[in-house]
């Protein structure tokens, strides 16, 4: 019978356990009411879940944490900027923004997948740098081409100099339209039913996708590229498809996220989103190699509870709310760092274990 290795278990779930402790300590200190906390967590779950779910497919294909999900986020923002200028409002505005963003996301995902195929084994750092590279192109388009080349009519979107987009674009005309489409209030907690239905559908798609031929291929590629190739799977194509899907979902997720926020920080929304989504997924107990839908939801609950209570707890303890602000930002980056260290340590440990076993087998054969 297999014995439960508590040490391994503790190591595997160290990050979620740490966050449960942080939340359990900070929540009472913050003095926030349970109903307020529930409201905030439910809102943030609706806001972020779609984006974080988009990270699952590349992990399945063995490409690690997709830092280039920001590419999809940029495509979503471009869609929203254009739709705002065309004055298409409400849910139709969101749908049109998604239709505009999908081809842009798909092209960016294709490009990213091709580049990552050239940098096998270094996908995460490559995707991280690609996001900076594409951010430069995004800035060129949004700052200089929108206006003279891509027509932008409205002066509340365009910079006063006549070209480029303002730092903030208002999405008041579609703010929380999806969240409020099917209104439901349980015990003072506002439930964004329509948003949750869409998230639930994506979860079903992911579960179904895992069982398809392509999903199985992705898992095979994720486990061992060599074996997958030998068994006739087109590894490169499969990896590209995983990146395209992730980027497209990220674009749609960004539109859902921004409709909840009600405005676009044109030059910074996307750059922050990748980091926080990845951190939330890791907080939920996911690793670079393995992530599930459960990790997404646990991650959102723990990470965002910490995000809500930390500044308040910081204010109560030190009298300065900025301490809590710094704390939550540093924790997000720290979680990613810890996950990457653990990934590398495990990889090395497995490698040396395999080496030892091989040496042992050779010794036995010699004898």
């Amino acid at each position: 019978m297999n014995k439960i290795n508590y040490g391994d278990l503790l190591r595997r779930f160290s990050v979620p356990i740490m966050f449960v402790i942080i939340c359990a300590v900070c929540a009472p200190i913050s003095g926030l009411s349970p109903s307020y906390l529930c409201n905030e967590i439910v809102t943030r779950m609706g806001r972020n879940a779609f984006l974080i779910l988009s990270l699952l497919i590349p992990i399945m294909a063995g490409m690690g944490l997709n830092f280039s999900m920001t590419l999809g986020a940029m495509a979503g923002e471009i869609g929203l900027i254009l739709v705002s200028d065309w004055q298409i409002v409400g849910i139709p505005g969101m749908i049109l923004a998604m239709i505009v963003s999908v081809p842009i996301s798909a092209l960016l995902g294709l490009f990213c997948g091709k580049v990552l195929n050239m940098a096998k084994g270094r996908e995460m750092i490559t995707s991280y740098i690609i996001s900076f590279f594409i951010n430069g192109i995004y800035q060129l388009i949004v700052l200089y081409l929108m206006g003279p080349v891509i027509p932008i009519k409205h002066s509340n979107i365009k910079l006063p100099r006549g070209y480029g987009i303002r730092n903030t674009v208002s999405l008041l005309s579609m703010r929380q339209k999806l969240d409020n489409l099917i209104p439901l209030n349980i015990g003072g907690v506002k439930i964004p039913v329509a948003t949750f239905i869409i998230i639930f559908l994506l979860c079903l798609v992911i579960i179904w996708f895992r069982k398809t031929k392509l999903g199985q291929d992705m898992r095979a590629v994720g486990q061992d590229m060599g074996v997958a190739r030998d068994s006739g799977i087109d590894v490169e194509r499969t990896r590209i498809i995983s990146m395209v899907l992730s980027t497209v979902f990220a674009g749609i997720g960004m539109i859902i996220y921004l409709q909840n926020m009600g405005n676009i920080a044109t030059y910074s929304s996307h750059s922050q989103i990748g980091m926080f989504c990845i951190a939330a997924l890791l907080v939920g107990g996911a690793s670079v190699e393995k992530a599930s839908i459960g990790n997404v939801f646990l991650g959102i609950i723990l990470f965002h509870t910490m995000f809500i209570v930390a500044p308040k707890a910081g204010t109560v303890i030190t009298g300065d709310s900025m301490i809590g602000e710094y704390f939550r930002v540093f924790v997000s980056y720290a979680v990613i760092t810890v996950a990457l260290i653990m990934y590398e340590t495990n990889k090395r440990k497995n490698k040396s274990k395999a080496g030892e076993q091989l040496a042992l087998a050779q010794e036995e054969a010699n004898e």
């Binding site: 049109l96 509340n156 006063p160």
Partner: protein
């Protein structure tokens, strides 16, 4: 081209056309307008009602006395509204339902309700609202593309700025 490839191509083209059709529908049904209601006299109407109440989707959006203006944000190409018109103070209110097509190319639309009720043509009672930019909208805006800018300053003044 073999049959399976042909089928795939047909499916792709069909999917593309369906998406384009959805986009076209969204363009029409999702077009937002700000409609301004005027209860003002014009060349066509010398005397205006004492009070006009405007209801859209059963909600009161404006209550206009003489020379007043109200507004509502609407979606789509047609505005159906209920008007409650009181000609004189203390007089009887008349309820009426009016459907008004909205020009696609106008973001802000001014409806002169007395002229509309008087049977004037659409060109006479519909005009475009051209917004005047506020001072903050006209003022030059510094674009911040580096979100880490100022992150390490901790609110202190640098030596250079001193």
């Amino acid at each position: 081209m073999n049959n399976s490839k042909k089928k795939t191509l047909i499916y792709r083209i069909a999917a593309f056309l369906v998406i384009m059709a959805i986009a076209a529908v969204m363009f029409i049904v999702g077009r937002g307008h700000t409609v301004y209601f005027d209860n003002k006299s014009s060349d066509l109407v010398a005397e205006v009602p004492y009070k006009i109440e405007v209801k859209v989707d059963g909600k009161k959006v404006a209550s206009l006395k003489k020379n007043e203006r109200g507004m509502v944000d609407v979606m789509g190409q047609k505005l159906t509204m209920e008007l409650v018109v009181t000609e004189e103070k203390g007089g009887e209110a008349v309820h009426m339902k009016v459907s008004q097509p909205l020009p696609y190319n106008m973001d802000g639309i001014i409806l002169n309700i007395p002229a509309m009720l008087n049977g004037a043509s659409q060109d006479q009672y519909v005009s475009e609202f051209v917004p005047v930019l506020s001072e903050t909208e006209v003022a030059e805006e510094t674009v911040v593309t580096d979100d880490t800018a100022g992150l390490m300053s901790f609110g202190e003044e640098s030596e250079a700025s001193k």
